[in-house]
Symmetry: C2
Subunit: 576 residues, 2 copies
Amino acid sequence: MPEFIYRINLSQMTAVKENIDNNLKGLGGRGLTSSIIEKEVPPRSHPLGKNNKLVFAPGLLAGTPAANSGRLSAGAKSPLTQTIKESNSGGTAAKLFAKTGIKALIIESIPEDKENWYGIRISPSAVKIEKTDLVGKGNFEVIKILSEKNNNTGIISIGTAGEMKMAAANISVKDPDGKIRSLGRGGLGAVMGSKRIKYIVIDSNDSNEVYIEDREKFKKASKKFAKTLLDHPVSGTGLPTYGTDVLINLLNEAGGLPTKNFSSGQFEGHDMISGEKMHNLILERGGKIKHGCHEGCVIKCSQIYNDADKNYVTSGFEYETIWATGANCGIDDLDILAKADSIMDDIGIDTIETGVAIAVAMEGKVLEFGDKKGFLNIIEKEIAQGTFLGRIIGAGAETTGKIFGVTRVPVVKGQGIPAYDPRAVKGIGITYATSTMGADHTAGYSVTANVLNVGGLVDPLKKEGQVELSRNLQIATAALDTAGLCIFVAFAVLDNKEAMSSLIEMLSAKSGTKMTENDITELGASVLKTEKRFNEKAGFHAEHDRLPEFFTEEPLPPHNVLWNFTDEEIDEFWNF
Amino acid sequence: MPEFIYRINLSQMTAVKENIDNNLKGLGGRGLTSSIIEKEVPPRSHPLGKNNKLVFAPGLLAGTPAANSGRLSAGAKSPLTQTIKESNSGGTAAKLFAKTGIKALIIESIPEDKENWYGIRISPSAVKIEKTDLVGKGNFEVIKILSEKNNNTGIISIGTAGEMKMAAANISVKDPDGKIRSLGRGGLGAVMGSKRIKYIVIDSNDSNEVYIEDREKFKKASKKFAKTLLDHPVSGTGLPTYGTDVLINLLNEAGGLPTKNFSSGQFEGHDMISGEKMHNLILERGGKIKHGCHEGCVIKCSQIYNDADKNYVTSGFEYETIWATGANCGIDDLDILAKADSIMDDIGIDTIETGVAIAVAMEGKVLEFGDKKGFLNIIEKEIAQGTFLGRIIGAGAETTGKIFGVTRVPVVKGQGIPAYDPRAVKGIGITYATSTMGADHTAGYSVTANVLNVGGLVDPLKKEGQVELSRNLQIATAALDTAGLCIFVAFAVLDNKEAMSSLIEMLSAKSGTKMTENDITELGASVLKTEKRFNEKAGFHAEHDRLPEFFTEEPLPPHNVLWNFTDEEIDEFWNF
């Protein structure tokens, strides 16, 4: 099946099929979105203006039988960070995209009329733009309405946060159960909202097969690959049993669980929000502890979380969400956090940025740490209704800090720092500082070697080895994001040579080339450099690869450690 | 009389007298504040944190008989722009500072207790820190209470905006009539608020004389200097008759009066808010058309503006204020604007930033352009009470734009663009883009040659000559700000050789050196380079010397002109 790009121009209301440039042919996912953004978007353009573009791309392995290959990437200039941005998630859309032969969907310009909202319908034969009256509705209702005629479609949508162009708005993707996965970070939902696109429906013929040059070789490699994932203790046992929330107790133990707006590394209520606690509640209430976010996932770190009456509340209830809204806001109640998670999914707002921003507001005396009622009120009333306070929180942690005159504002390049305190988990601090995306744990998840003893052990409290660790992981992650693989395959890849070799075999078999480990590294490095090039032209330089001042001045209990890298040490990161 | 620096450390509650470094001895005003900030403040520090410092310095000529030498400078890292910042104003403090022998007052750190507010009392014999209960009070009441015992003190204070650490909060200075002059731009009031300093009282012995090396020569030169100011048609006739508001009709005529958030260059209601209209109203209502903001001012562009019942409303009612809140918000009623001006003086918030931010909120549909009631409500209720909307506006135009998802946001380096549209007055556009202060008309007021035919004529609609014009003016202004002279002396300096030569004679006589015009230029250039050095270390580079995208895309009526400088053309500015 031939692969191509679809370019939607909203001022002309056209959808045009284009061939792919030769130099983009070896790319997918993040590599492709970042290359297109770097090439086509003026770096100083306003993220919500007509010169920004929103690009969707499934990974190189999307639609193949490769385990955990169902990530969909979106890219744009971010209204939260002003940098280039790629965000990805599971769900059903990536596979269906790939099966239509679309390597990338580029949405550019803004509708000339000032009011109408639009949807995009993609089928193997055509891409159409249609007016819609679904504006104002939450993601769950949008998915329900759009699924009425055909439940096998892929659906991408924004909630009301995206409509209001909140800088923390995300993009939602329907998962196999009609629930929601989120392209969470960087406000890409606001970019979609600025273009007045409420949804994208992908109605591909599921029986289409994506083209694989050597199908037999691919099949063998993918079997081997899946086995390595299942054999690894983290991806094969830990994550499917406790979900990502298994990290609450681990990080609390390590003294790196940011608590009450990064004022401590341990939360007294950690047991109330831990993965173990969640596991027990799920079993008691007839939920499901294992649940995949996309077809082909063998790890299944998601879950079905029910309330005390055994009614469904949420799924994809992640450690970072539970940390941001729990430990970081001083809220020790999983039921409240689950309800908040469900509402944020419906509104379409990044749970990490929202939690970090609310904690900053708590620091600014808008409400008390641990105020459960006030916390829930901000999410279900203020943000949902777009009140002035809701818009402040929805603009993210940095803006919230500016509004309330707070100095302890944990952000890098405008994006809220997630669930691992860089003073006590120093490798992730290097990732936050240097990532082209602003503070982003997924960009180079050094928690592996710092806390989980995966891929070796690098003492989280010492500086030694952290820059190299983060560099290697960021390069590898950029490649994985380009392949469209879930980041959790990295556990196996780091510990088991078979995982890497089978991954290389899959990529080789797919394209009919002979790839080496070095090719993967070069691919990842080249993606990072493309992103950095955009950021430099947008005005981001070494001075922006820094953590906020307070990390260097306020010792973090219980280890009473500071962030103590020199500028020169951090800048070593880019020596590749 | 020996000159020295006073350093107040708020965590130690100490006030220490220091000698002046030799390399700072030739500096005053902006040159001194910027040099101290560049040397002592970590460029990446949080502007509201303990590592930022607030520095006050009278100009080199403060306290001398030189006409219009009463400007007081304050400097810090700005919470609005994140750049270095100097802001200055008239009032009585500069002269009294100089008469105590204080070249600079450095306020550093933050009180260890978390709640108390403090005042600083300066006398020729001592500097004292005292607790105060004046917190929560407006500037007018603070000045009244502090003047009760002695009306001849200099008073510097912040209003409630500064207490709330709003990024647009300014610092107020008592003028000779007990009214208020403002160090307006860049949020220095928030820095003072972050240090919990409510006021500074300077109680000097007015009979002290500042040291002048050659008093006779100085006297002769200063007489000549004052005459050049009075002889010039702008400073001698235009400004004293109509105030700075004379510019409304001039800019409207030039098509460069930014209207309704920079969507047009002409305002249909210009006649209702013009200097001519104000002149007539003042005469009808028993006000005063001429009023100096500091002793020794011979220009007297301020005024006493009364209401229809002949009661005092405001003074120092400037063109930029009237533009920001008038034409830019579509409000065509001088009485409403005068009331707003008075409230903003009392709250202590920058009238330009506030007007620009409200217009952005109007663009974001928070209220309609021209909604007089809604406009006044934002100022007297929302901002004054620190509601969520008030805090949004108080955080400035850039943050307001982010909160409401607006793309037409006229800011450079986070500071709202003032009263001259850069598409139709291109020289000032170069100043906005390149100034070390963010968008700032006073930094290099090319309106002189672009509109007023002062210092020659440079066609405002063409690119030719604008970079050189702005460069020369920015260098000269940095020198004038260091001397502590009002920017309006520049009209005479640009048109009359006698003005420049007498200025050089005054500076030479003051210091007992033999200065040349070249020395003045070198002084100004060196101040700009010091400021740029700080900004670069804070992360500001050529990519930040740019105007917002919309100026390059939306033609400005009536001339339908765009901002059309290339990056290379703008960057020529720094070639000196």
